[in-house]
Symmetry: C2
Subunit: 221 residues, 2 copies
DNA sequence: GTCTATAGGTGGATAGAC
DNA sequence: GTCTATCCACCTATAGAC
């Protein structure tokens, strides 16, 4: 069957997302995909090649979409300051819209989040594309927030990425722990919440009052 | 030797932090700790019990410190609004100060970050303590930000936690990718940056303008 | 308490018939 | 292209001598 390859990829995607890549044996993928025991090695050659195929097929377009959105910001902003919100949106929206509308959507986004916190796989598959996106984000953020030092701006970029990755990875947990209050299945609302939070963090005052970071209780001591 | 147990815990801590728990075979811990092959099962009984011992010993106090800081905020704020910065500080500082001053510090914090993104282990070891801390954070945040809906406030709490976890987990990567610009070994600066970012995100305007979350490029279309 | 040896199971990968 | 059967490396855990 010509579907064999796709069945394997589909099953692997779900299992990787649910349990992590290292924790899923090829035998389990074989059982889930209902294909022959030797099919994976016939079609992909090795587990690592299967992982690459899953990732590039599913997530390759994400960084291209990001790059396109960042390009649009670059061109339309001209010599004016680009909006921090727009830069955040360019990072967040393509990632959160992975698998939009499909039944596997949640699993796919969770897997994307895993990928971004496992540098071993990230570098393996996406190094070129991601480095390029990262470079453009840095350049745009520097224009959007010139009053920040490079150090503070870069710190904030990492922390903003952290909140995005957490939302991608922990969708299931967020919905469960909040008892449905935060509906991670509503992708567009998730995007708005994330963009607003990240932009507010990036836009925090340039000069910080160190004293505010001391807990109330210890002020009495 | 009475140190055997401690040597095992030390070696396991480092290896778990560096490679992840599932990826570290007991044999490797044995080799690193330079103890006998059967020592782990003699002292701990199983790998899972070793994992528990490592976690409770190293990270048990963190949530107690958090609870104490949150108590202090509660008492000192009286009927006034507690400061968002102080609540964030109570969550961040105890976690980022894990292993403070020790050579293993970075590895320990990285492991703590892993723990917080692997619900399987989190629930296993810390469920009671963490649930209590989470409950207090919710209550204080509701008092600090009454103008926010429960939904928006809860979303922001998760995103703030996400940035904290990312900084804990990816210290090595952050320092490397920023080419030293962000010095994750400087724990106190990391705490200040995180608290400021998280608080700014939590404090973002209550009413959002949905239009700002549209990229500049698509405004022309 | 410490050691050696090994049982019992699971992983990825392959050979060779059809 | 698909299947069965199997190899070999590695894992956790245990048995039993010292």
């Amino acid at each position: 069957m010509a579907d064999t390859k796709q069945q394997i990829i589909d099953a692997a995607t779900c299992l990787f997302a649910e349990h992590g890549i290292g924790a899923v044996p090829l035998r389990r993928i074989i059982a889930e995909a209902q294909v022959n025991a030797a099919a994976i090695h016939y079609h992909f050659g090795s587990k690592e090649e299967l992982v690459k195929a899953v990732f590039t097929g599913r997530f390759g377009p994400v960084n291209e979409e990001r790059a396109a959105l960042l390009d649009a910001i670059d061109q339309s902003s001209g010599s004016a300051r680009p909006a921090v919100e727009d830069i955040c949106y360019a990072l967040v929206a393509p990632a959160l819209r992975i698998g939009r509308g499909t039944e596997q959507g949640r699993l796919l986004r969770s897997l994307a989040g895993r990928l971004m916190t496992e540098p071993q796989y990230m570098e393996l598959v996406f190094s070129d594309l991601f480095v390029e996106v990262d470079r453009r984000v840095d350049a745009l953020m520097a224009r959007a927030l010139p009053e920040l030092s490079d150090e503070v701006r870069t710190w904030r970029k990492f922390m903003a990425m952290g909140s995005m990755v957490f939302v991608l990875r922990e969708q299931e947990w967020i919905s469960k722990v909040s008892r449905g209050l935060c509906d991670t299945a509503d992708v567009e609302t998730s995007i708005r919440r994330l963009v607003q939070f990240m932009a507010a963090g990036m836009n925090a005052a340039a000069v910080e009052a160190a004293e505010t970071a001391v807990p109330a209780g210890s002020r009495n001591g």
